[in-house]
Amino acid sequence: MASVRYREALNQALREEMHRDEAVMLMGEDIGVFNGAFKVTQGLLEEFGERRVRDTPISENTIVGMGVGAAMTGLRPVVELMTVNFSLLALDQIVNHAAHIRYMFGGQVKVPLVVRMPQGAGHQLGPTHSHCFEAIYLHVPGLLVAAPSTAADAKGLLKAAIRDDNPVIFIEHEYLYGRRGEVPEDDDHVQRFGEAAIRREGSDVTIVGVSRMALTAEQAAETLADEHDLAAEVLDPRTLRPLDLDTILQSVHKTNRCVIVEEGWPHGGVGANLAALVQEQAFDYLDAPVARVTGADVPMPYSKPLEEIAYPHAPQIVQAALATLRDV
C-alpha cells in the first residue's frame, strides 16, 4: 500500500492501462500541455506523446462522439470532460449513441469508451460548474456508471472501466482530488463494478452515501456512535450501474432502517431510485420510511454561506438517521 492522492491514483490507472494496452488513448480539453484542469493527466503527454494523449478543441459533443466512433472501430478511448456540467453538451452522443449503438444495431459492435468527469460543489464555482448528475446517467440503460469516493477505488474502478467493453460514465469529485488514501501498489489492482463497499459496520441504521457523500456519511456515523451510542452501517455503492443492491438489502435486513445520502437534487435522484428499490424489495424489513438527504432543490449558488447549505453535511445525516429511530 502507498498513500496517494485521488488524482494521482487516477493518473496511475491511466498510465498503467496505457502501458498495458496500445488501444487505450486519451482525449480531452487541456489534458496534454496544460496537464489537465485538475492535473489528473499530469505527465502523460510527455510520456506517451501526442498520438495517444490528445488536447482537443472545446467541442464536448464531438470529442465524445469521436470517442464513440473510435471505440466502435478498435480503440479504447478515455475522454475527459472538464466538469459534469459540460457533459450536458455531449448528452446526445452519450445517450443516443454511446449507450444505444450496441443495442440498436443488434449487438454487432461494442463501444469500449470511458468518459471521465468531475462533479460537485464546495469551490464556489456557481451554477454551471458545481452540480452532481449521477442520476442522469444512472437513468440510461447501456451505460455503466462509477462514482468512486476513495483513491483506491478511483484507481481500481478506472482500470476496470478501461478494460470493460461497455461505455462507462466515470464520475470523479472535485473535492476529492487532493485527498490521500491507501492504494495497493499492484498493477492489477482492479475494482470490479457492482460491488458495494461496507465502509463501517453497524446494526442500528444503514447509511448509503454516493460519491463524496460516502465520506460525509462516515463522519455522521462517527457522531452517531460518539454522541448517540448508535452503530450505523455505512455503505458506498461505488458503481450505480450495475448496482450492488444485495449488499444494501442485506444491511437493511439487519438494521431495518435506511438513509440515502447524495449531493445531487432530490427529484428523480439516486436516492429516489434507491429508496424505491429498497421499499420494493425489503418492505417487510423496514421499521421506518427510507430517508433521503440530498442537495437542495436549487441551482448551485456562488456565495459561500449559500453554497454551504445547498449540499449535505454530517449533521443533517445524523438528524435523518435519528429520525428513522425515533420510535425505538
Partner: protein, 435 residues
C-alpha cells in the same frame, strides 16, 4: 400488387449540357451500377408499399431520386473503408452489399433484420461490410465518422471513412466541430453532403445563409468539391478523387452532391413546401433513366437489357419481401439482449421494470435459485468476493456462462444469502392486505 413506374428510356432526349464528362467504368461494372441503382429504387418503392400495408412501422424515409449519390459514393470505397449514413439509409446498406432480405426484414422488425429488428428503418447496420450505420439524430453521425477516421489513423491502416449526411445536418453544431477536428488532426474522412435541397420541409435557402454547402468547410480548412448527385459516374469520380486525396494527403474533404428526393421526406409528408412542377423537373433528370440512356447510347447496354435488369431487381425485392414476411419476430425474452456486453463486469443487472416474458416481481426472481431462472444468466465470475449478485432481467440473456461460472452458481444456489429464501414471510401478509 405494386405497379412499378417503368423506366421510360426512349421518350426523352438528353440535352448536350446535361451530358456528363465523367468517364464510364468497365461495361460489366457500369451494368452493375445500373442494376444496383434499380435494386435500390425498386426496394424503396416496395418498402413504401409495405409501409402502406402496415408491414413496416415507425417512420420510413425513402431515397427515391438519390440513388446516384448513394451508389456513386459507395462504389468509390475500398472494401476496408467505412461508410456511415443517416436515417435515410436503406440504399446505403444495399449499395454496400447488405442483402435486400436483411434490410427488408429489418423494416419488418424481424429477427433476420440487419440490426436484428432493434433498429428499424433509421438504423441499418452491417459490420461485415463496414456499413457503420444509419443514425436517427441529424448530424449525430459526423463525430462518429471522425472518430472512425481517427482509429484508421491511429492503427496505421490505409482505410478511410465516407460520411454522408443531408443539407439539414450542415446546420448542426457537430458539423462545424467535426470539420475543425478532422482538419486539425488530418483525418482520412470524406464528408458527403447529400444536398436534396430540403431539411425535411424547409428549403435550403430558408435554412442556410450560404447555400453552396461545399464552401462551408473552407473556413475550417476542409477543401470542398461539388458533384452532380443525379449522375452516378460524376459522383463516383469526385468521391474517388476525394478519397484518394484524403487517404494519401491525410486530410478531410467535403463534397456537396446536388440531388433531389422524388418522394416526401417520410411517408407522412403532404409536400406542401414544394411545387409539383419542381418535382417534375427533377424527375426528368431521373438518375437511373439518364444513366441507362447513357449506357445504351455508348453501347454498353444492349437491346432489352434494361428491362431484363429491372425485372431482376423487382424479383430480388419480391424475394426480400417473402423472406421478411417469413422471418419471425424477435422472441419477447430477447428484449434485454445486447444492452450490455456481458462479462466480468456485467453479468446482468437489476431491471426495475422486468416485464418479460411474464410479469414478475424482482423479489420472486431473486428468491429463485439462479439455475432455475429462464436463461440461467446471472452476475457471477471467479473474481467475485463480495456478496454482490445483481441478478439481471435475465430472461433471454445469451448464455455466456462458462464452467467457472457454473461453479459460482452452485455457491449461490446454496444460499450465500439465506434471507433470499424468505419471500414467504412477505407474501401472505401482502395477500391478506390485498384481500
Amino acid at each position: 400488387m405494386l405497379r412499378y413506374r417503368r423506366f421510360e428510356m426512349a421518350e426523352r432526349v438528353v440535352a448536350p449540357e446535361e451530358r456528363t464528362a465523367a468517364p464510364l467504368p468497365e461495361p460489366e461494372r457500369a451494368r452493375e451500377w445500373l442494376a444496383t441503382m434499380m435494386l435500390i429504387r425498386r426496394f424503396e418503392e416496395r418498402a413504401g408499399e409495405m409501409y402502406a400495408k402496415a408491414k413496416v412501422g415507425g417512420f420510413l424515409h425513402l431515397a427515391i431520386g438519390e440513388e446516384a449519390t448513394i451508389l456513386g459514393a459507395a462504389r468509390a470505397l475500398r472494401p476496408g473503408d467505412y461508410m456511415i449514413s443517416t436515417y435515410r439509409s436503406h440504399g446505403h446498406a444495399l449499395a454496400r452489399g447488405t442483402a435486400p432480405e436483411a434490410v427488408m426484414a429489418e423494416l419488418f422488425g424481424r429477427v433476420d433484420g440487419c440490426s436484428r429488428g432493434r433498429g428499424g428503418s433509421m438504423h441499418m447496420f452491417d459490420l461485415q461490410r463496414r456499413f457503420m450505420g444509419g443514425y436517427g439524430i441529424v448530424g449525430g453521425n459526423l463525430p462518429l465518422a471522425a472518430g472512425m477516421g481517427m482509429a484508421c489513423d491511429y492503427l496505421g491502416t490505409e482505410d478511410a471513412v465516407l460520411c454522408t449526411f443531408g443539407d439539414g445536418a450542415a446546420n448542426q453544431g457537430t458539423f462545424g466541430e467535426t470539420m475543425n477536428l478532422a482538419a486539425l488532426w488530418r483525418l482520412p474522412v470524406v464528408f458527403l453532403v447529400s444536398n436534396n435541397q430540403f431539411g425535411m420541409g424547409t428549403a435550403l435557402e430558408r435554412h442556410s445563409a450560404v447555400t453552396e454547402l461545399h464552401k462551408r468547410g473552407e473556413s475550417f480548412g476542409v477543401p470542398g468539391l461539388r458533384c452532380d448527385g443525379m449522375d452516378v459516374a460524376d459522383t463516383f469520380t469526385v468521391c474517388a478523387q476525394a478519397l484518394e486525396r484524403s487517404r494519401s494527403e491525410r486530410q478531410p474533404v467535403l463534397i456537396e452532391a446536388r440531388t433531389y428526393r422524388f418522394r416526401g421526406h417520410s411517408m407522412a409528408d403532404p409536400e406542401e413546401y414544394r411545387t409539383r412542377e419542381q418535382v417534375e423537373q427533377w424527375r426528368a433528370r431521373d438518375p437511373i433513366v439518364s444513366f441507362g440512356q447513357r449506357l445504351s447510347r455508348e453501347g454498353v447496354l444492349g437491346e432489352g437489357e434494361l428491362a431484363r435488369l429491372d425485372g431482376e431487381a423487382i424479383e430480388r425485392v419480391d424475394r426480400a419481401v417473402d423472406f421478411a414476411d417469413s422471418s419471425p419476430f424477435p422472441e419477447p425474452p430477447s428484449l434485454y439482449d445486447d444492452v450490455y456486453v456481458l462479462g466480468d463486469q456485467v453479468g446482468g443487472w437489476y431491471s426495475v421494470d422486468a416485464r418479460t416474458p411474464t410479469p414478475h416481481r424482482g423479489e420472486d426472481e431473486r428468491a429463485m435459485p439462479r439455475h432455475q431462472l429462464p436463461g440461467g444468466a446471472g452476475y457471477e465470475s471467479e473474481h467475485t468476493t463480495s456478496t454482490a449478485r445483481p441478478i439481471g432481467a435475465v430472461q433471454g440473456l445469451p448464455d455466456e456462462t462458462d464452467a467457472e461460472e457454473s461453479d459460482a452458481e452452485e455457491t449461490d444456489a446454496e444460499g450465500a444469502n439465506p434471507d433470499r429464501a424468505r419471500p414467504d414471510r412477505a407474501r401472505p401478509d401482502r395477500a391478506e392486505r390485498e384481500g
